[in-house]
Structures are given as C-alpha cells and as structure tokens.
Symmetry: C3
Amino acid sequence: MRQAFHALSIPTSGKGLYEITRELRAWLSNEGVRDGLVTLYIRHTSASLLITENADPDVVKDMAAYFERVAPEDGPYIHDAEGPDDMPAHIRSALTQTHLSVPIEKGALQLGTWQGVFVFEHRRDPHRRGVKLHFIGE
Amino acid sequence: MRQAFHALSIPTSGKGLYEITRELRAWLSNEGVRDGLVTLYIRHTSASLLITENADPDVVKDMAAYFERVAPEDGPYIHDAEGPDDMPAHIRSALTQTHLSVPIEKGALQLGTWQGVFVFEHRRDPHRRGVKLHFIGE
Amino acid sequence: MRQAFHALSIPTSGKGLYEITRELRAWLSNEGVRDGLVTLYIRHTSASLLITENADPDVVKDMAAYFERVAPEDGPYIHDAEGPDDMPAHIRSALTQTHLSVPIEKGALQLGTWQGVFVFEHRRDPHRRGVKLHFIGE
C-alpha cells in the first residue's frame, strides 16, 4: 500500500468549465497505479470541481448558464470586496465540490463513459487554479 | 491494511430517491471490515448520490419536488438531445453528489441515526445505475 | 500506513456557519500525521459541512442568507414534523456536503490560504453536532 501526491496548476480565462480528465489520467498512468482511490482537492473558494458530461459541449454551456441564473451577480450580497462576481463565486463553489474521490480498479479510473472531471471557474478574470491530487492504494 | 471493491447495479423506474443503505451494509458485513473508509461512486451524469433522512418518506418526496422546482425541465437549455429531462438531470447531479465517503469504526458504518444513502434518479425512463464501492482499511 | 479516528461535538446556537478548522488542525497535529487524507463526516441530515472563505465574516453571512432564499422556510413542503425549518434543513444539507476529504502533505493540511472548514447549522434551535474524523496515511 502506498500514497502519491501531485499538484496541477490549471490556467483559466474567465467563467466556465475546464476539463482536467486528461491531466488526471496522465498522472495516474505515470504513477503506474493499479487499485485505489484518487482524491482531487481544489485550494480555492471561488473555483470548484465538478464531474459532468463531457461528450456534448452544450452541457457545460448550459451548466455555466444555470449557475449564473441561480446565483446571480446582482444578488443582495454584503461581501463584494473583489467585485460583483466575488460572492456568487463562493456560493457556486458551495453548491458544487471542493473535493472529488474516484476509485481506480485494475488500473482503470472508474469514471463512467460520459463523465469528465472539470475545474469550474467562477471568476471573470484569468487565474491559475491549484488542484491537489492524492492517491492511496497499490 | 487492505482494499475491497464491489459494484452495485441499482434498477430505477423514473425520477426519485432509491435507498441503498441495506445493500451497502450487506457488502461491508460480508467483507468483515472493522475500521476504514468506504467510498461510493456513481458512474453517471444524470443520476447522483445523496445522504438524507430515511425515517419519514415525505422527506424524499419533498426533496424530489424541490429539485423539480429549482432545476425545472422547462429551463432555457441548449442541450436536449435526450428530451426535456436531460439537461436538468445533469444540473441536479451537479447540485448533489457523484461520490460519498463514510468512515467505519469498530465495524460500524458511521451513518447518523436518521441518515440513509440514496441513488437520486433524475431521468424519467427506467435505468440501471452503476455504483462502485471502494473500501480501504482493516 | 495507519488510521486514526476522532469525534468532534460542535455546539450550535441557531442557523449559520461555525468554523471548525482549528479543531481539525489541533487533532491532526496531536496525531502527528505527515502524509495522508483526512475525511470529515457529519452524522446529521439538518446540518452539513462546507469549505468556504474564512477571512471576511461577511461571506458566511451572505452564504447563510443565500440558502434562506434558495431553500426558504415557506416552501411547499409536506414534511414539517419538527417545524418550518425542518425540510429546508434537509434541502440545504443536500445542496452542501455531508463529508469532506482534504489531503495532508508533509504535515500540512492542504487547505488554500482563504479556506476554512465549517459546520453549517440549518436548524433554529441549539444542537450539538457530531462530526467524525478519519485519517489514513503515515
């Protein structure tokens, strides 16, 4: 039984979903893992993680548009230190995920056929988002 | 320290919550686990996982009705390849969970008294939903 | 490779966010952990866990106010056995987290600079909330 750590730094250029499935698979392959659990952890409160469909690019557009509607920039917020996209970014992060865990069995990451792993950027400005990867298993 | 894997295939017959606590406990009991962490992972983007109250059946009815209101079928979606329940299914999955982890201590799954583990089906048609189980511990 | 367990009992005095980052760090420090994964699990369906910004106290006020709006007490609910804050508490729990996992590397809990770990109380009355902690690693 062993552990492995890695850190991704994902550049984002405004609100939306950025797929990181390939980066995740590349690291697991490089580590030569067989059976275990991989955990992704995003070190931010205005960007989050999400597993959703990665086949039709309209899904991520609809997803982003939905969160614009449900946690709008013009909500009655006290906290707006960094602008109108600041507090809704925290809310959208709260409604989605800060961490994800996915089992790996016989070398295969157990994502479903249509599942992709995404960083969900909630701020307008470009950022680099740090995602910590942790593996435990064999 | 060891790992164990299992796969559940849960039949669903339309939108709603389907409890899988018994299936989860049965597998853990069969594996004879004592201390560790169990992770459930659903391999779909239009069905999700949720821990909620399982004592009063009205709770899961209210829960399903809430998600109908907050992510309705008649939202302005681009993606409707599989019908009006397609995109809201992805959104409801995003708002709930794709994975759950629960500690096990001294042989006892650490669910609270009123907590049950559910598959939350977001599509109208019958499906079989694959849920991967992973245990690590002793 | 080893495991460790702990239980926090967090007193709450009405709806809102209660930070538990210090309690979490204190336990990890006491255990002398170096590399691994810590999982927090809340054993309730009307209180939840959330990682969000802990620098500006307005964030948690806005967060609580948002969930009041999005899952209001006067929603059309069937389940109201324990009062008007009962069903919205289950919904707000469903929209946030029952468990959180955070990697620990070289003795450092991998929270981002602005991230705090909170119990999110959704009931009006005072409670004690049980949070199970599980560590696996070295």
